[in-house]
């Protein structure tokens, strides 16, 4: 039974490899190790490092707590959380239906469909230049928009150097 199942699994693996010849480096000769304790130890070290980092940041830097919420007093500018500021920036430039709805929906759908749209079987960076350039562009634009929204937008969403250069 067990050997039969193992053979089936092996056969499936071989098939996967054969179907995606460029996809995977042949790793069948790589050294096998037991994941415990070496791998688990690596994870442990990473967790400890992260905990120490968080503790230091948290002792040194306070999370903001402004005045009590006041529905009658709208701050200017009102900003969304930072990871939505790219969207808010787009909203200030394009019609809301496009920037607020069509664009995010498009990105999410595109992301889910990506493995089916990208027909290139290779996983080697040198053989997927187009994909890498497009994705890098997307990431750079997203980061730039978030940075603009966070640091360069002042009252009424006008451009403002003051936040970066000191009072402006």
């Amino acid at each position: 039974m067990a050997t039969e199942a193992r053979e089936r699994i092996e056969a499936r693996r071989r098939l996967q490899r054969a179907e995606t010849p460029l996809a995977v480096r042949d790793d069948s000769q790589d050294e096998m190790i037991v994941s415990f304790p070496e791998f688990v130890f690596k994870e442990f070290i990473a967790s400890v490092a992260m905990t120490v980092f968080l503790l230091i940041v948290s002792i040194w830097l306070d999370a903001p707590l402004l005045n009590r919420a006041n529905p009658g007093m709208t701050p200017n500018p009102s900003k969304a959380p930072w990871y939505f500021l790219g969207l808010q920036e787009l909203l200030s430039r394009f019609p809301p239906l496009m920037a607020g709805v069509a664009f995010p929906t498009f990105v999410i759908v595109l992301m889910i469909l990506l493995p089916y749209l990208d027909r290139n079987p290779s996983r080697r960076p040198a053989e997927r230049k187009v994909a890498i350039i497009l994705f890098t562009l997307y990431m750079l634009i997203a980061v730039a928009l978030v940075l603009i929204g966070t640091f360069f937008r002042g009252e009424a969403w006008t451009w403002n150097w003051g936040l970066v250069l000191g009072s402006g």
């Binding site: 996967q16 996809a23 995977v24 480096r25 790793d27 790589d30 050294e31 096998m32 190790i33 037991v34 994941s35 415990f36 304790p37 791998f39 690596k42 990473a46 967790s47 992260m50 968080l54 503790l55 940041v57 948290s58 002792i59 830097l61 306070d62 999370a63 903001p64 707590l65 402004l66 009590r68 919420a69 006041n70 529905p71 007093m73 709208t74 009102s78 900003k79 969304a80 959380p81 990871y83 808010q88 909203l91 809301p96 607020g100 709805v101 999410i108 992301m111 889910i112 990506l114 493995p115 089916y116 990208d118 079987p121 996983r123 080697r124 960076p125 997927r128 994909a131 890498i132 990431m139």
Partner: protein, 243 residues
């Protein structure tokens, strides 16, 4: 003396039994013992027993998926602590945050940790997406796990977003007002979606309660379930390893 000796022996054997029940195989001095330890321990069991060295190079995963998961755990633990002191009502929320900062033992540090870990998780999850993209790990046979991942990304953002409202200060209600205003632009469904999220037309008491319930129960449960599936698939699809 003899009685004491016997009692000691008895105590020793009970303790040995306890330790054996916990760690069935002693110190992992040989590969065989180590492998059995991993197999019989529930928490270690999420790892494959044996892996190729090239699969777990830190320079490959950059540990980003693992760190995202670890941050999720940190957020759960610190979040539980905050829940002891926080009441999600318009009357209490802000004062409770204030007390956490200035009165509760370690309240300030725990609240800071919760906040910074949440920001950090948004960043590590994004970087994890970038890692998976650049290594082409979304390709066959991992298409489905990439889709689960996309859902996890959205839920991570929603978790952070719902948490944003809870301190009930000027930053929170206006950020949520701006954020939920974006939903309004969707044709037909937009205003309804916003109404459903807020339980009203403005960010008020209903919105606070809805965001709280989503933040501490609904979204974490879904996130946890999806993570379990995500990890299961990572193993079933085989780890993508080197290039």
């Amino acid at each position: 003396m003899k009685v004491l000796g016997a009692a000691w022996d008895e105590l020793y054997s009970v303790m040995a039994q306890m330790v054996q029940g916990l760690f069935r195989h002693g110190l992992p001095l040989t590969d065989k013992i180590a492998a059995r330890t991993a197999l019989t321990n529930f928490f270690l069991h999420i790892h494959p027993v044996r892996v190729r060295r090239s699969w777990i190079r830190m320079s490959y995963t950059l540990c980003l998926g693992g760190l995202s998961f670890f941050l999720f755990i940190v957020l759960t633990v610190t979040g539980l602590y905050l829940m002891f002191y926080y009441v999600p009502s318009v009357e209490h929320a802000y004062q409770d945050m204030y007390d956490l900062k200035f009165v509760v033992t370690f309240g300030g540090v725990i609240r800071n940790m919760h906040r910074w870990a949440a920001h950090a998780m948004v960043i590590t999850v994004w970087l994890h997406v970038a890692r998976v993209f650049y290594t082409g790990a979304y390709k066959k046979p991992r298409e489905f796990n990439w889709a689960i991942g996309t859902t996890l990304l959205l839920i991570t953002l929603l978790l952070s977003f719902t948490g944003y409202l809870l301190p009930w200060d000027q930053l929170s209600i206006w950020a949520i007002t701006v954020g939920t205003n974006m939903a309004r632009y969707a044709p037909i469904a937009g205003p309804y979606t916003r109404y459903l999220m807020l339980g009203g037309k403005v960010v008020g008491a209903n919105a606070l309660l809805r965001f709280y319930v989503a933040h501490v129960v609904g979204l974490p449960l879904v996130a946890f379930l999806l993570m379990v599936v995500h990890f299961w698939r990572v193993r079933k699809d085989g780890f993508s390893g080197g290039l």
